[in-house]
């Protein structure tokens, strides 16, 4: 959109200007769009690389939509048996489903098809990875605090939906690898007590694998899930505009302003350029690196299973959880098999997802903080939150690594059993260790900041005093640098207060003790008095 649009309304200007001017005037007179553009275009957007992770997700999604539309022209979501007669020799003459057949034809016999398949798949991996990293950024900087709690929830639901998109897409070609994956999902579902078998039959339209599931996944994959995702992304972005963007603390940046560039023209130009950068990186990956070579895997057939069968990375944590369960957690009671080897991971992962989803509300409850926060925290200034995050990351990463236990074993020349035992340890004990270490590191960093703010940094210049004494000269930071070290929120454990009836409820007690745990060791920000005292040195 040109800047003319913004300033178009003056009629005499339209008269003497170009076609663009005339067109934009025409449009504006009928839609009053200039008001919107003006308002929106003046939005300020701060500049920091970590604020672009969400954009990476958005742009990858656009790439997914474009390449996916191409694929739908040629893909047949049918499990009808056909004989493959395309160009890939080692599969010629084999019976396979129409889905696999068409996916192979896209790969070998449709111009640009393989590139599009690879663009689509690489973009999908990047889409979910960038959402994950974006979420970590939001978490560790505390950007989920009021007023953005709901947007955290929306974002996290998007993450889950993206995994659903990924999994359904991964299954569509109906190759051996994805068929093995589906079989695992089928087993998971059947492991749910009482209703599992019913749900499985419902999903697959009968006994696994049946001849329904590809068609159903296709509907989910190209219709239902994308529609919900697009709607939620729109909502997510509306919230970003309404809340304005957060910013890192710095001189001149307050809770009531946003320092950065206006969307039009600077930010829009940058963002547009960035879209092409993301697209370019994906295109390069797709052009040079094979992804999901279904022609190696061959068509799905329930009997063979390949070594090294794994899901795409974002489902890895679930696969890993299954691999880490020790043998023998299954018994028969009341004429039914109770598969705790499946029920436990389902419950634990479900719990993990709920905890992440609701974390902002938990923290708000603990801190009792009802203020709006538009300035981000440096992770070290919220030690307990950062430590909880580190624990969560360790837990997730251990499960994730477990999904490649076999590859770790062969590539690091270890016994599979040892890999599993190590990962069982890091999954269960690792988070506690990570919590402890991360918290100590944060507090140590805060202490260092405090020290520097008060006494400056060691300059390395040694001076000999007239009396013969040696001292090292400490130099003060400049105002800008120092500012960052001084300003952060100070929290204290909540006090228990009696309610209106003069009683202390047990909920209050729990809250107070959680809050004490949250803030028990903390470093207080430097006060102005301390600062004044130090400057007299």
């Amino acid at each position: 959109m040109s800047s003319d649009t913004r300033t178009a309304p003056a009629p005499q200007r339209a008269a003497k200007t170009s076609v663009t001017g005339a067109v934009s005037n025409y449009i504006d007179e009928r839609t009053s769009i200039s008001a919107v553009v003006k308002e929106f275009g003046r939005k300020i957007f701060p500049d920091h690389w970590s604020f672009m992770l969400g954009e990476v997700a958005l742009y990858s999604f656009v790439v997914i939509l474009i390449s996916g539309s191409f694929l739908t022209f040629f893909f047949q979501a049918s499990m009808a048996e056909v004989e493959y007669d395309g160009s890939w020799v080692p599969l010629k003459g084999l019976e396979m489903s129409a889905a696999m057949d068409s996916a192979l034809n896209i790969s070998f016999d449709i111009r640009g098809g393989l590139l599009m398949r690879q663009v689509h798949h690489w973009a999908a991996l990047l889409f979910i990875a960038s959402i994950g990293l974006h979420m970590l950024r939001i978490y560790f900087t505390g950007a989920f605090r009021k007023p953005r709690e709901l947007n955290w929830v929306i974002g996290f639901i998007l993450f889950i939906l993206a995994m659903g998109e990924g999994f359904t897409g991964y299954s569509l070609p109906d190759d051996l690898l994805s068929g093995n994956g589906l079989r695992i999902i089928d087993g998971l579902i059947k492991g749910i007590p009482v209703v599992g078998t019913w749900i499985s039959y419902l999903l697959f339209g009968g006994e696994f694998p049946g001849d329904q599931v590809i068609g159903r996944f296709y509907t989910l994959h190209i219709l239902l899930l994308p529609a919900i995702i697009v709607a939620l992304i729109a909502l997510h972005l509306v919230f970003v505009v309404v809340h304005k963007h957060t910013q890192y603390p710095g001189p001149g940046k307050t809770n009531d302003n946003v320092v950065g560039y206006p969307i039009l023209p600077v930010y829009a130009a940058k963002a547009g350029g960035f879209f092409f950068i993301v697209f370019g990186v994906i295109a390069l990956m797709a052009a040079f690196f094979t992804i999901n070579p279904i022609w190696n895997y061959g068509p799905y057939d329930p009997s063979p299973v390949s070594a090294g069968t794994q899901p795409d990375w974002y489902i890895g944590f679930a696969d890993g959880a299954l691999r880490l369960i020790p043998p023998g957690w299954e018994f028969v009671l009341w004429d039914r098999t109770w598969s705790f080897n499946i029920i436990v991971p389902l419950v634990v992962l479900g719990g993990f997802i709920v905890v992440v989803l609701l974390y902002p509300f938990f923290e708000a409850w603990v801190t009792g903080d009802k203020r709006e926060h538009h300035l981000l925290d440096r992770p070290r200034n919220a030690p307990t939150r950062t430590a909880i995050g580190a624990a969560g990351v360790t837990f997730y990463a251990s499960l994730w690594a477990a999904a490649s236990s076999d590859i770790i074993a062969t590539h690091f020349k270890m016994a599979m059993e040892h890999v599993i035992h190590i990962l069982q340890f890091t999954t269960i004990v690792g988070p506690f260790i990570a919590f402890f270490i991360a918290k100590r590191i944060c507090i140590a960093l805060q202490k260092k900041d405090r020290e520097i703010a008060l006494h400056g940094y060691e300059s390395g210049r040694i001076v000999r005093l007239p009396g013969g004494e040696y001292i090292e000269v400490h130099q003060q930071l400049d105002e800008y640098e120092r500012w960052k070290l001084l300003n952060f929120n100070e929290y204290q454990p909540l006090m228990i207060r009696p309610n209106a009836a003069g009683k202390i409820s047990s909920a209050q007690r729990v809250r107070a003790s959680v809050s004490r745990w949250f803030f028990e060791d903390r470093i207080e920000p430097v006060t102005s008095k301390e600062l004044e005292r130090s400057s007299h040195h």
Partner: protein
């Protein structure tokens, strides 16, 4: 004998040249010139390697049938290199199993891939640089099979990698992929053992592996997989090896784990590096 070998060899060369042409044409339009060069180089390497293997195995069958001299040389080599573990009469010791009935194929495989002589205790005898010349290997094989016969080194007619790749790939998925991975990239077994990757293994050794079932690999005797089946399996493995993935670099054919790591480290890594650059530019 000598002339027969030569005509065979010529036939083989023509065939592989045809094969190369056949596989190149349909996708030529999509390949960069560099890929063509690489393809030709790989093709040449393969033809050379296969030719050498072919030669070795055909001279081998000559040797097995042949001379007392070779057997005697084999006996000496065996006594010097193998008997400490396998016993002077192949009866086996604490340190190694008996070799009675394993046949020439097992010796050819174990020594020809460098697994034997075993050097140190590990969960599984690893592939090492081969320590004997071809004729020494033949002599050892001749000696072991002269004491107690067993499966012999396969006939070259099954090693031409010109069978039915489709059938071979199907057989491979059913019989081998659970250990070796569908693309032959290898996989983990229990207790530190593993099924190795199958790229770069000669046709003869693939055949012998099926025939003798080294260590944790099951034996696929001729009743399980006929020589024709084995030839098809070899064909499909060689097809995969000699036709670089149409999608580009294969990341070790390790499947989604490798792809995921690549997407995170290189894909997202590159994008973040560019984002840092883009935002740094402004200041």
């Amino acid at each position: 004998m000598a002339t027969a070998r030569k005509t065979d060899a010529r036939r083989f060369r023509i065939k592989s040249a045809n094969a190369a042409r056949r596989t190149r044409s349909p996708r030529a339009a999509r390949r960069s010139p560099l890929a063509t060069v690489a393809l030709i180089a790989i093709g040449l390497l393969f033809t050379g390697g296969a030719y050498a293997a072919f030669n070795a195995s055909s001279s081998d069958s000559g040797a097995v049938a042949a001379s007392q001299e070779s057997v005697e040389r084999g006996e000496k080599l065996f006594a010097a290199n193998c008997a400490t573990c396998h016993g002077l009469a192949l009866q086996g010791t604490e340190a190694g199993p008996t070799l009675i009935g394993v046949g020439a194929a097992a010796v050819d495989f174990q020594v020809g891939t460098g697994r034997m002589p075993l050097q140190n205790q590990s969960p599984q005898a690893p592939v090492k640089p081969v320590q004997f010349t071809d004729s020494d290997v033949d002599a050892l094989a001749a000696y072991v099979s002269s004491i107690s016969p067993g499966p012999s080194v396969p006939d070259s007619e099954y090693l031409d990698a010109a069978g039915d790749a489709t059938r071979g790939a199907e057989l491979f998925r059913i019989n081998c992929a659970m250990c070796h991975n569908v693309a032959g990239a290898g996989g983990a077994l229990t207790e530190g053992k593993y099924a190795p990757a199958l790229t770069g293994v000669t046709e003869k050794h693939i055949y012998e592996a099926m025939l003798t079932g080294p260590q944790n690999m099951p034996v696929f005797n001729d009743a399980n997989l006929t020589p024709e089946d084995k030839r098809d399996i070899i064909t499909s493995l060689k097809y995969l090896e000699n036709n670089p993935s149409p999608g580009g670099f294969e990341l070790g054919s390790l499947g989604p784990v490798a792809e995921g790591l690549f997407a995170w480290i290189f894909g997202l890594g590159a994008i973040i590096a560019l984002a840092v650059w883009l935002t740094a530019r402004a200041n």
